[in-house]
Amino acid sequence: MNFTLYIWRQRNAKSKGKMVRYRATDISPDMSFLEMLDKLNADLAAAGEEPVAFDHDCREGICGTCSLVVNGVAHGPQRATTVCQLHMRHFKEGQEIWIEPFRARAFPIVRDLVVDRSAFDRITQAGGFISANTGPAPDANSLLVPKEEVSTAMSAAACIGCGACVAACPNASAMLFVAAKISHLAHLPQGQPERRRRALSMVRAMDGEGFGNCTNHEECEAVCPKEISVRFIAEMNRDYLRAALTTAEPETAS
């Protein structure tokens, strides 16, 4: 297959970028989207041109490193699929394909299609954990968790932190990511002791990174490769408001 590509090229965080037109030739329909870019890069290198920088790691849809906006949609046209798991057979022969980085002030561009998503790490560090003292492992089944709660926690825990929610949100809001991290622990007994503090600290960290605010467009849910539901945003709002209104030391600002 052959494609006409328009790819965002930008030397570094400071320079101005622009869309550049390329031809991708001899692409197998069974190639993944990233393999198609590998092929393009090999051709560019052979021609003495600078290859296109893009992020990837596992290439099996579990690490959350790949991060492309394809034809205006984060992770491309296939629902519930990371762009590394997207195959070229989903495109039409000769089609124009626009490839851009995830765009948000909180995700500065490093080069071409690579963005810095360490803002997510800082939010997680602010509260996306439980504090457990080391010691002997507790007896099996000493802590009972209803199946429904486990499933809900698991569907939030499925978040791979790729940032597609931010990329797709018209307001570049990170609320789906933060909500998934908060709800994942809020549905488990181990998450209870720090539940209020977690909601307060993670929301504060999120605000500090310069993300926008959710206006309930629900665009994030549509592009999330793990189909995380916006129900978790409602849960985060509830957890946060309860904590902010009733905790003795709210620590909402500092």
């Binding site: 948000a104 609320m175 467009h217 129900r231 509830r238 902010a244």
Partner: protein, 229 residues
């Protein structure tokens, strides 16, 4: 109060303030419509209702100031959040495709601003009598402020009537997204109730728009049936 300002300064807190003030405004809009539908019950009923509201004296002023405060806070929060959202994506996409975004959800600030302009216009019209002043300030046979005659005369003017209809459709657009959205914002949502909340909200919004448009339109087209004594 310190706690309130702290919460207001955060993303979720500011959104919650937006949702609570939006809910209060929505409830006001419903109550305002129910009162005004008395225009269909005739001159006596509407003027009596208006006289009772006027008779509240200080209470009326407390309600008015409260409503004004809610409105101002809602608008302030709207601008604050919209500004933060605009700053959050300085470089736009060259090609952007949306999946779930609706016209209503994208136009919240614009529809809100139309509503704001309309509210000013509406107050100048029926509360202050600046627009259409000929119909303002008359008394009925029982010596009450003749609201009925003022409304019936006002809405016979096609420009005035259609302005109201337009504004009500825009308000409906604002609430079409805003009403279900406020439940999500306040965390009063669960997958089991999601569809029910959305449908109920949007039905109420549709009825509010219908009721509000019915008054100017029926007076415009059927004014013979609206007789005053």
């Amino acid at each position: 109060m310190k706690r309130f300002w702290e919460i207001f300064g955060t993303s979720i807190g500011c959104k919650a303030v937006m949702a609570v003030t939006g809910l209060l405004l929505f409830l006001f809009v419903i109550a305002h419509l129910l009162g005004n539908l008395l225009v269909f019950a005739g001159q006596d009923a509407l003027n009596d209702y208006a006289a009772k509201l006027q008779g509240l004296g200080a209470g009326l002023w407390i309600a008015r100031l409260g409503l004004l405060a809610i409105f101002v806070v809602h608008i302030y929060a709207a601008f604050r959040l919209t500004r933060i959202n605009a700053l959050a994506r300085p470089e736009p996409y060259q090609k952007e495709e949306s999946i779930n975004v609706t016209f209503a959800s994208r136009q919240m600030l614009a529809s809100g601003l139309v509503v704001l302009l309309f509210v000013i216009y509406h107050l100048l019209h029926f509360t202050l009598g600046v627009i259409d002043s000929g119909a303002f300030g008359r008394l009925d046979a029982k010596g009450r402020h003749d609201v009925y005659a003022m409304v019936v005369q006002g809405f016979q003017n096609p420009f005035l009537s259609l302005t109201y209809v337009f504004a009500m459709v825009v308000l409906g657009l604002h609430l079409w997204h805003g009403a279900p959205s406020l439940f999500q914002t306040l965390g009063l949502k669960h997958p089991a109730w999601e569809t029910c909340i959305r449908r109920t909200c949007q039905t109420v919004v549709a009825l509010v728009v219908l009721g509000n448009c019915l008054m100017p339109l029926s007076i415009l087209f059927l004014h013979e049936s609206f007789t005053s004594k």
